[in-house]
Each structure stands twice: as C-alpha cells, then as structure tokens.
Amino acid sequence: MGTLTGALPLPAFGSRVTVKTRVDYQNSQEGALVRRAQSGDEAAFREIVEHYQSKVFSIIHGIVRQRNDVEDIAQQVFAKVYFSLRNFDFRSSLITWIYKITVNECFDYLRKKKVRKLVYESDLSEDEVRRVENTEPSVDRTTPADESLARHDYVLKLLARVSEEERNLLMLKEVEGHSVEELAEMTGMNENTIKVKLFRARQKLVKAAQRLDRAPGMVAG
C-alpha cells in the first residue's frame, strides 16, 4: 500500500480542471455583519454568537461527548472568536473559520485533560489507579466496554495524528457531509487542491490506523 502513491508528489486530480470563482464573502450580508463586529459593534458580535451557537455546541458535543463541558468549551470558542475576529480575512466563510477554532479548542481540551489525568495518576500507586479507573465514567477508560465509545476514542486518536488543516477538512467532509465543491467554496481553495489534501490526509489516517492497530489494547471498531 502506498507504493505508487509515494511516487506521486502532487497527484493531478481529474482530466478536467475545475476551478470555481471564489465566493466573495466580504460583500455578502454575513461579511457586513463581520465587519461591524470587527469595528467593535457588540450587537453584531452577539448576532454572530446567537447564529452559530447551536452549530458550535453540536461540533463540541460530537468530539468531546461530555455534556457538562460542552458549554464551557463553547464559551471559550466564542471568546477566541471575539479576540481573533480582527484577523479574520474573509478568505474562507465565517462558519469554516469558527469550525476550525471549535475543533482546535476541542482537541486542545482533550490533550489538557489527558495531561491532567497522567499527572494525577503519576502520583498514585498502581492499585489506586486501577480503583480510580473503575469509578470513572466509561468515556475516560482506555478500553471502553461500549463499542461505539471505543470507536469514538479510536477516531480521536487517529485525528490527533494529522495536521490541523487535514483534520478540519476530513471532519467537514466526513462528519458534516460537505461535498468537495462545497469545501472549495467554504475554504476558498480550488477543488483539485481539496482533493489532494483530502487524499493525503486519508493516507496519513490509514498509516496511523496501522500503527494503532499494532499497538496492544486498541479497538479498531
């Protein structure tokens, strides 16, 4: 696997080159709202929050699965949106940009949570660790009994092994169900670039899965 693809530095997808005109987000209704928020209009920022809060909650809930933490992470996401909005350059749609911030925030949360758990466990004896693991909710276990949770855990481990951009593209395609054409519009890249990036991301996932499957105690789902 990957012998032929390895020799292709940048595969040319499709005999016909599909290059769509970039969507002019800056002059859209949403663009006007963003510009108002960028100039410090609190009402415009509030409109953005209220428009996208349900979507952000849904993305976080899908990745983190801890209902109690969803609202806290969502607050952090919108605080980041507030402070970075001045740097938003309209190269992509606002939701693509917010999606990226949300996914990064979730993975950051999971990474911090894992570090906290490791630090906590390093202070305990083996027996204590075993006892704590048995009393924690199944989501936090290394080998969850529930198959769906095990698969969820496995996917997060795989996605942690690709770049931020690849992770976002894969999630927008596979989790959100966007087509390549839609992704091109949303990100401001052309369709061929999207296809190349997705293909490379998938190759990395396959390799990561092979490594994880070789590791003991992993459930491929």
């Binding site: 609190e42 596979e174 396959v206 899965a209």
Partner: protein, 145 residues
C-alpha cells in the same frame, strides 16, 4: 494508487455511483482495491464524531460569553489598579509612605538651612586667638549676618 481511482476517490467514498472505468480498475487492481477499502472503513469510522443528540444552549449563553470576554480582555496598568482593590491599596500606601519620607527629609534640610552660618562667638570659640590672630580678624571682617 492509480490516477483513475484518485480522480473519483472522493465521489466513491461519498457513496455516489462512479464510472465504469473506475469500477473496472478497482476490480482488476488489488493494490488500489485494498487501499480504497481501508479509506472507506476509516471514512465510516469518522462518522462517529457526529453529535449523538442536539444540545440547546442555555438562555443566558451570550451573557456568559460576554463575561468570559471581559475576564480575558488584556488590561492596562491603570485598569489593573482600579479593578484589583488589594493591589490599588498597596500602591496607594506605598505612594503615601514615599511622600511622607520625602517630606520629612525636605523639612529636616529646610531647618538646617534656616539656621544659617555659625555666629562670630562660635567661630571665636572654635579658633583659639593664640593660634592665628590674623585669621580671626579676616573671618570677622568677612562676616555677613
């Protein structure tokens, strides 16, 4: 992976029907078939990241966001002094102490200066006439009250 598969890979993984050429190649090329199969499996697993149910944000969600924004807003030194009463009190106390020390130092200096140069009797007492009478005369002549 061969070009014919690369061209239609995303379409195939999305479940859309692909060209006869694509299907025929996939049937004949074992390597492409295996790789596409692995990608298809992972594509299905990624779907587990969909939210199991819709969560509704609480009514006061925006207010919470606004509070967090305020809490994380970078502060100037002045706002820090005003918003942190304990720190402000310490700064005020330190300023008052500095003023008091500086004030008492200046007052002491002022007292010393107002005392003026030593009186002739003092000079005469300090310098014995036997030592140098001309010096005493010169000092007294140049004395300005």
């Amino acid at each position: 992976m061969h070009q014919v598969i690369l061209d239609r890979l995303e379409q195939h993984l999305s479940g859309s029907p692909c060209s006869r050429e694509f299907t025929a190649h996939l049937e004949s090329c074992e390597e492409c078939r295996a790789e596409v199969q692995q990608m298809k499996e992972l594509s299905g697993v990624l779907f587990t990241l969909r939210a199991p149910e819709a969560l509704t944000p609480s009514a006061g969600f925006y207010a919470q966001v606004a509070r967090r924004v305020e809490a994380e807003r970078p502060r100037s030194l002045w706002s820090f002094v005003w918003l942190e009463p304990a720190f402000g009190k310490r700064v005020a106390f330190a300023s008052l102490m500095t003023l008091a020390i500086l004030g008492s130092y200046l007052i002491t200096r002022e007292t010393e200066y107002s005392a003026g140069p030593p009186r002739p009797e003092v000079i005469m007492a300090q310098q014995s006439p036997a030592d140098n009478p001309d010096m005493i005369l010169a000092t007294l002549a140049s004395y300005e009250p």
